[in-house]
Symmetry: C2
Subunit: 926 residues, 2 copies
């Protein structure tokens, strides 16, 4: 009958048969270990009920009735337990650390040490674990944790448990030691719904506690409002600086003219002039070098072009150097990384101060360089960096990774809010694109943050036009029914563009990674910047800043004051214009495809909108010419005679929306952003139709948008919530899980500090399930590598300084002297979540997605069957996708290319599954 | 050693000690039961490994490696298993139902019967359960189900499993019997990531399957677009009809005048007249009775008042009679019920056709009656009824309660969209207020549905003004910094109003329920309608329709054409106006509080907005007077001289937003709705501030908004997702769960059909956990009352017609003859989700909330500890809230008042927890 011997017999000798542990004579006379153990799970199949009185309470075991009898008898048992340990209660009352003291406390010298070597901070015995207990979150089961390592996944459940415990401490600050008073030790009424812990009788402490909670709740608001203010101010500064630097490439505001200042942009310099062409203060570089005003000439053109080129390349290189020197995470748009972080992954320094500074400065330089990149996506990253900065002011948020992510999700909205002047669009962007957990209250917080930022930007008014964004427009005319047809074409074009762009961009990225002969990132940036300048300068539409271009493409001719691109003058509606627009779109496509992915801050939203707007405007001009030449055509009958029937600007905005939908695969956010840009419901229907078609066509190319493609390319461990992008293969979870025969599992007892250290050395796995004994494999818990390593390290150092041969165990050992043994239970997740092994993979995936787990254990009737980690799931989902696409390919083949992924990704998992590792590590008894 | 005898020894005799089942000589020679059983969980603690070969495969056991050995040996075992049952494989190949045939199939006569009495449709043996298997969802574990009863909770996991199986069948329609081919019977590579099921080699079937899936996916869109069209049209019809009926109370469009038609509303009748007062066609009742035009006189006033009263009461009574006679669910706003339904509860007929018709007609009558009620909330209900109507066209959605709820969540947005002309607001309303599960794709679907409805409404243009809503406004001026102060006051007032209104309304509701002497609902409606008419008629502001009033209160004086309330004429800014406005607000408060809850279709949104607008306008006029009289006051310095500095209309809209936030506790949706009503970002900041303050102040009164209060009042089983409204008490789940000693549990074997029927008769519980045997209590599964009752009933009728003494069991019985015994496993949830009993209540609640469970079982190391149902959780959450509020009160005391809750609510739960029921039902052996 080996079952009854599970965790008593393995005390450093082999567990042969029933041990002597049940013999009361064996119990040591140590006062500290006066605990009894009715730890029923070990004896669940033992019908020697009469032995129970000899075993005491296990302090880590909650108040369960004995599971091996259906007679209700917990009441007398509780009382017996209570009466049988008066010494413990007295010591508990005498100590100021009463609620943290337990009956097997280590000697005071050990307790005072910085290492939390005493096995548990709180006694969860029935009655003693009252609701007013202190911060004893590890007693809930998930165990104690050391800080997360970089590039590991967070445990949402653990973080929320921590937060709850903190809240509880806040609520009950006035009665912190209530749990140890003897009056509360009486057992609760057996079938409980107990009185909840929140009733306070005295009013003053209640008021104080109320105020404390209010202050606590207001922290999130302070962070978000400060972030909103900072983001609005930063966005304004970036707008002004970009404007100035962008104009500097063409000329400067001459200080010699009245009111002229070198630091003024062209718009500011020429403020008051209706036509910027005759502005007195603004001097182009050609004029400055040639020493004369006005006129043209090839020489001037070359001089100005050379300045444009040199300055553009200089700005780009400066941005690249900033990124390389100060914060590598400032590169790129940041949205793929942000999605991963919000999905529950630790990336240290990604939201740091240096990243914030570098990204802001680098963004100004990169945008000013004239390359085909935007500031919209990076602004979201900047917004999250700001929020993270303010989060640091409040440890209660800063120390909780889950709450931090809630606040960051909310703050992300302010980035899009200032980028497009669209606060609602920002909230929906965060909801649709970025966030993982987005509770209702986050939506409101997000909205407030986004509005604050938009208001601040409006107060700064960086464009001196009252507009939040350069390309905000209002249309005076509505659309006609027949125009739905070209709008549908634009939608389809947008989808095709999106699909092709993602393919091209990813191919460039892969090539760049594989081509080892390529020069360093800064040189790459210089080359692309040079190429961009060479292509941009001669091209009428591409020479200007993207936002200027988009603004002019969007605008209605009747409202355009400054027609610098000649889109509205007489004869602009010609085949030549159309060809030039489409030519610019094609060139921009290639430039954007090689630019997005360089090591500079660079977004993809604005270039995409520009390309879409160029195409849309071209289609609009085609329609305009057609309508003008054939006004009698049946479709054009609805046009009123002497009024322009077609507004090409509306085609541009619909083209931009369609292109954006094709590239990012967002839907609602894009429509809402465009709605807020145009300020009227009029064009929502065509935008909606175009966006929907674009998404459908794009999805036919690939299910992943540009951000998801980059997540996949970088092998970020992001578990997509939507089944659309990542279909879950339909199979039993047992086919995926690492079976127990392939796992390194630990037995409950029979270890020494040295043997555990040896296991850690021998196996790279990130965690170990703990089972009762090798034959029964009853699951007891799960201990992560980090916690195990930390405890072992701490135990062998002073103050404990345990020798390597010290016995270590994961289950209650009534014979063990706590001074000379190591109880690892406080560091073990004693209530790991389990599933039956015959459940489907879908259910397991929804556990990971909805509950935010890191691992789930498969258990059939108490017996461990296997383990599934977040990585396994990620691997299966992505591998499945790959094989679905290139059917016949070996699974996993497509996953090897992730060279940019920092080493250590997935480092929290149990280890490579295919390695034929020894299955018996830790089984000294076999 | 009783453990090894768990489920073999209890075959209708007492399970004393080890049974004879392990004796190979005991096995019958029956060919059908040639199965072997390595059903490891039963023998997990049995070290008699050598006996294994004698026991065959259990067909319901998935491909797990044997859990009692860590040596990798499943490969040889699989092969042995494969070779040892050639007869089975041959029969499988021979039968066209191969994948559904199992080795213990009942005789064909039984299989052909309509009752699915054969125990399992699919064989899940290793290899045989390939990914391409047919619709065998019950094999995944949750078991087969009969249809949900009315007023029970749905099982989200089960529904999504069903949907997945349907999808899988769609994908693999071309190779449905792949699973039974011998080649796939070879075991998968041991540590698997298997090739996913989606790779299709031939292109034509792939194309067909692709088209089939596209058609399948388009069903949702068809439903939503049809719903959008219908909702838009219905809303337009309701608007026109309400307008006409409302005007009929005052007069009629005289057919004697040129172009006059009796069916025209006043606006339509007077179309073309600038001032409606001099409209020729419109005849008031006074004029009609007195036979003369124009003029006043007390007699005329009385005659018109009497007509107003009689018609108003008639309309209201008609609405009440409609509701009583045709659809009782058409009463009230419908939003509390809708929340409950979307949260996963079955309410038959709540979304039926009769409800749709009754609610639409009743709404017209109720709104026209002039009572203080709105059509906004009911329109959401109408929208969901429309969607439900179209859902019936597509069985694949209609038969899946989870998908149906996704579509309904999406469709709900169209209701708010047409009510406020605010499609984005509608989506956010659905997201914030209504929905439980709202995946990303639902947001887009919701948006499309809402936009379609808004477009249709715009096309109908029911108000002939181009506006979607009567009270859409545009402000020409902006606000000044000092105005934030009155806006803050309005926010606080809104919160106070909201808190008081909810209290008053709930008190009226409770009184109405408790006062048994009250007349029937129709008489109540008549009395309230009469009272309303008597109060409304003499009051200048209250006589008109609410929407007219709100429209005039919102509007800016400089843009008002028709100042019928005299708010803009010279001298309107007087103390008299202020008093009249506030007086109207107070009267309206009481009328609305007694009206909301009557048995007629009635929303609370518009009355609330009207009350808020009345107050807001009053505050605006106060500010206006103050600024006019003291233009030199320091705060007013920012006012420009000759322009009106204060726009009282903006105060009205902010007051309305604040009142709405106070009553409903929504935030984002209200701001977005108001933003869409005003069409500019200008007033978003003050609205935001007012809404936020109002919510905070309101939350100080009670955490629940009006809809949540009604949900609670009616005791609907809605599990709130937000922790803010329902704090979860911090306690171990084991304190809440029904312990095993209080449960009625069934053993795996030892039952007869008659004994099970007797248990069903004796205990009202809605489900029974199934355990191995009374001493070990290893959890095997859970069977619901409905399924158990159905199976027992079916088994005793032809074609099976089993006698009552037939043996029935829940575990594999190698000795049982399937023809003469009843295997209940297919109807049992064989993989019920479990938690360790020491986990905290929070974790259990997140299981219910995030995974959508109906019950969770607590298991420690395989041993059943207890059960927690959704009802228990609901009970604890609501009881805890109650005790927190009225601290000291016995928990549950506040829950007894639910007399309006239909009988049978919570009927799916395991039964009342406090009843001292026999614990031993079903234990024939004890």
């Amino acid at each position: 009958m080996p079952i009854s011997a599970i965790n008593y017999g393995a005390s450093s000798s082999s567990d042969s048969g029933a041990s002597a542990a049940h013999d009361p004579a064996n119990r040591p006379g140590d006062g500290n270990s006066s605990a009894d153990d009715p730890y029923a799970h070990d004896d669940a199949h033992d019908d020697a009920h009469d032995e129970l009185d000899l075993l005491g309470d296990d302090p880590l075991q909650p108040d369960l009735s004995s599971p091996f009898s259906f007679k209700r008898k917990q009441k007398p048992r509780h009382i017996t337990g209570f009466l049988s340990r008066p010494a413990r209660l007295i010591s508990a009352l005498a100590s100021p650390f009463a609620s943290r003291a337990s009956h097997d406390i280590p000697p005071p010298a050990q307790r005072l040490g910085s290492l939390p070597t005493h096995p548990h901070d709180n006694d969860t015995h029935p009655g003693a674990s009252g609701p007013g207990a202190g911060p004893d979150y590890h007693a809930e089961g998930p165990g104690r944790r050391v800080a997360y390592e970089d590039l590991t996944a967070i445990d949402w459940i653990f973080e929320y448990t921590k937060e709850r415990q903190r809240q509880r401490a806040l609520h009950h600050h006035t009665t912190p030691h209530r749990t140890s008073s003897p009056s509360s030790s009486s057992p609760p009424p057996p079938p409980p719904p107990p009185t909840p812990p929140t009733s306070q009788s005295s009013t003053l402490p209640a008021l104080l506690s109320h105020i404390r909670r209010l202050l606590d709740a207001s922290q999130v608001w302070v962070v978000l409002i400060l972030s909103g203010l900072a983001v609005g101010a930063l966005a304004a500064a970036i707008d002004v600086a970009t404007d100035w630097l962008g104009d500097i490439k063409h000329g400067f505001c001459s200080p010699s003219v009245d009111g002229g200042r070198f630091y003024l942009s062209k718009t500011a310099c020429c403020y008051g002039y209706d036509d910027e062409a005759i502005c007195a203060g603004w001097t182009t570089w050609g004029e400055a070098f040639a020493g004369r005003r006005g006129g043209g000439g090839a020489g001037l053109w070359v001089v100005e072009g050379a300045t444009y080129l040199v300055l553009g390349v200089t700005f780009a290189v400066a941005a690249a150097v900033l990124v390389r020197e100060f914060a590598v995470y400032a590169r790129h748009s940041g949205i793929p990384e942000l999605k991963t972080v919000l999905g529950g992954f630790i990336m240290k320094r990604f939201l740091g101060v240096w990243t914030l500074v570098t990204k802001s400065l680098g963004l100004v330089l990169a945008v000013a360089s004239g390359m085909w990149l935007g500031k919209e996506g990076p602004l979201v990253h900047v917004a999250c960096c700001c929020a993270n900065l303010f989060i640091k002011l409040f440890p209660s948020i800063n120390n909780n990774e889950a709450r931090k992510r809630e606040v960051l999700s909310a703050a992300a909205a302010s980035g899009i809010s200032v980028a497009f002047g669209s606060p609602i669009g920002g909230v929906l962007f965060s909801l649709e694109q970025l966030s993982y957990y987005f509770p209702d209250k986050t939506m409101w917080q997000s909205f407030v943050c986004a509005m604050t930022a938009a208001m601040v930007l409006q107060a700064f008014d960086p464009f001196r036009s009252g507009k939040l964004v350069l390309y905000q427009v209002t249309y005076s005319s509505s659309w006609h029914g027949f125009e739905l047809f070209p709008f549908i074409i634009l939608g389809i074009l947008g989808g095709i563009y999106g699909g092709l762009f993602i393919k091209a961009n990813m191919r460039v990225a892969k090539w760049r990674k594989s081509a080892s002969w390529l020069p360093g990132p800064v040189v790459q940036v210089a080359v692309v910047a040079c190429l961009t300048a060479l292509i941009n300068y001669p091209n009428h539409y591409m020479r200007a800043q993207n936002s200027d271009l988009v603004s002019n493409l969007f605008s209605e001719c009747s409202q355009t004051l400054d027609d610098r691109f000649g889109l509205c003058h007489e004869g602009a509606a010609s085949a030549g214009t159309i060809i030039l627009l489409l030519f610019a779109a094609v060139l921009a496509f290639f430039l954007a495809a090689i630019t997005f992915g360089l090591q500079i801050p660079a977004g993809i939203i604005l270039p995409t909108m520009a390309i879409g707007a160029l195409t849309g405007r071209a289609v609009g001009i085609i329609m305009e010419i057609w309508q003008r030449n054939h006004p009698a055509f049946i479709a054009f009958r609805s046009c009123e005679p002497d009024i322009p029937c077609i507004t090409p600007g509306t085609y541009a905005i619909i083209g931009a929306a369609a292109a954006l939908a094709g590239v990012t695969r967002m839907t609602v956010s894009i429509v809402v952003i465009m709605f807020e840009l145009t300020g009227a419901l009029t064009y929502v229907l065509p935008i909606m139709v175009a966006v929907m078609l674009s998404k459908w066509v794009g999805d036919a190319f690939s299910r992943r948008g540009i951000y998801e493609s980059w997540i996949r390319f970088n092998e970020y461990p992001f578990l997509d919530l939507s089944e659309e992008t990542t279909p879950i293969p339909d199979m039993p979870a047992s086919q995926i899980m690492t079976r127990i025969d392939d796992l390194v599992v630990l037995t409950a007892a029979g270890h020494t500090v040295a043997s555990l250290a040896a296991i850690l050395d021998a196996h790279p796995h990130r965690g170990f399930p703990v089972i009762s004994d090798p034959r029964d494999a009853i699951l007891l818990g799960y201990i992560s590598r980090a916690e195990l390593a930390y405890t072992l390290h701490a135990a062998t150092r002073p103050p404990r300084a345990l020798p390597p041969e010290t016995e270590a165990f994961f289950a209650h050992q009534p014979l063990a002297d706590p001074r000379s043994t190591l109880d690892l239970r406080p560091w073990m997740d004693q209530t790991p979540l389990t599933l039956p092994s015959r459940c489907r993979l879908h259910l397991a995936v929804s556990y990971f997605q909805k509950l935010g787990l890191r691992y789930v254990l498969f258990v059939d009737r108490g017996v461990l069957q296997g383990l599934l980690t977040k990585k396994d799931v990620w691997y299966v989902l992505n591998g499945a996708e790959e094989t679905r696409r290139t059917s016949g390919m070996q699974e996993g083949e497509g996953l090897g290319a992730g060279a940019t992924a920092p080493p250590g990704f997935w480092s929290y998992v149990t280890g490579p599954r295919r390695r034929p590792l020894s299955q018996l590590a830790g089984y000294r008894s076999l």
